[in-house]
Subunit: 211 residues, 2 copies
């Protein structure tokens, strides 16, 4: 389908465009200009056209985009025409918050298992989830047909857990542990570091009025 690698930043913008297209759909819009989509997403119409151009030709000159068709095509591109079974590794407070993050389910990501190593937590209920023993990780991954693992552990145990997940067949992971993970080719790991997000703000504060 693709002939070149698309940057994560482009994929993120496509996901944002989809959200605004769905918002425009709910408001009853049928067509939309790249300018209107860009304004809503906080970018430029040139960027919108460039991002979409990677995936073929959308929209007609002078008529704008067909909102429904473009939303459908973005869902196809982003792999959002199916549901994903998600494993949470680590049952700390951030993991607890993630189980209540409504947008995951709304986009097709179902957290189906949580594992931890703490005997005090194993067996505890989080709404309809029961915290399972990380010792059984390999069996759980297979039995629950896990598509994506979310790592919400401290840095130290993360790599060993990832090695076990890879061996058990998990090929997509979202990593909140503050450590760079090593995985073989064919396995995708995306990192979320919330402190780094704050550092984009301290950078902005530091450089104000200087450019």
């Amino acid at each position: 389908m693709l002939t070149r690698k698309i940057a994560d930043s482009t994929v993120r913008r496509l996901a944002i465009y989809l959200r605004f297209l769905e918002e425009f759909e709910r408001q009853g819009a049928d067509t939309l200009s790249s300018e209107a989509l860009a304004a809503r997403a906080g970018t430029t119409s040139a960027q919108v056209r460039k991002d979409l151009s990677f995936f073929g030709s959308f929209g007609k000159r002078g008529l704008g985009y067909d909102v429904h068709a473009l939303a459908r095509q973005l869902r196809n591109i982003l792999g959002l025409t199916r549901r994903y079974r998600v494993l949470l590794v680590g049952a700390g407070r951030l993991a607890g918050a993630l189980t209540q993050y409504a947008e995951f389910g709304a986009r097709g990501f179902d957290i189906v298992v949580v594992v931890d190593k703490d005997p005090a937590k194993i067996g505890m209920r989080w709404a309809e989830l029961v915290i399972a023993d990380v010792t059984d990780l390999e069996n759980i991954v297979k039995r629950a047909r896990i598509d994506i693992a979310i790592l919400v552990t401290p840095a130290a145990p993360a790599q060993a857990l990832v090695d076990r997940l890879v061996a058990a067949g998990v090929t997509a992971m979202l990593n909140f542990a503050p450590v760079q993970l090593h995985v073989p080719a064919g396995v995708d790991v995306k990192n979320v570091n919330l402190a780094v997000e704050l550092e984009t703000l301290s950078y902005a504060i530091q450089h104000r009025g200087s450019s």
Copy 2:
């Protein structure tokens, strides 16, 4: 100091480089090649050199980078030579998790106040924090000398809260609410959407073996 706008993705990589430089420092390294830094950060040495070139000339051909000097310069560039006073807007589970996110404090970001509108939460203690009434938002921002606000609210109230924060003088915000916020020039908002992060994985799964 700067003559051109640097992309967020570049700033994020600088923050990641700094983490690895500090790791190399702790291991006793004094010099480091761009190749070694790139390998650790999961990128290419060309990317490392390009990212650093925005900010002047670092390193000597054939000798690599001075680990201590480069770490110091990155802390300067990222604005990490001071501490920041952070306000959490919303006292839900994600906010609770953020108050325990040790890396914030380690990088100089101190959560000093949490506000909420729920009478059942106002007055509750979270470790050394007491949840304050969002009604007093403007006074709290001034009295606590807030540098950065983190929005951890549902989508609906977010814009009105941001308008109040801007009016109270807050110029830097990290937004977890799933909505695009409008702010005047001179105010920086960075968005974190955890579902979008999962969509970079569903995209990767969808496009495997196709490029």
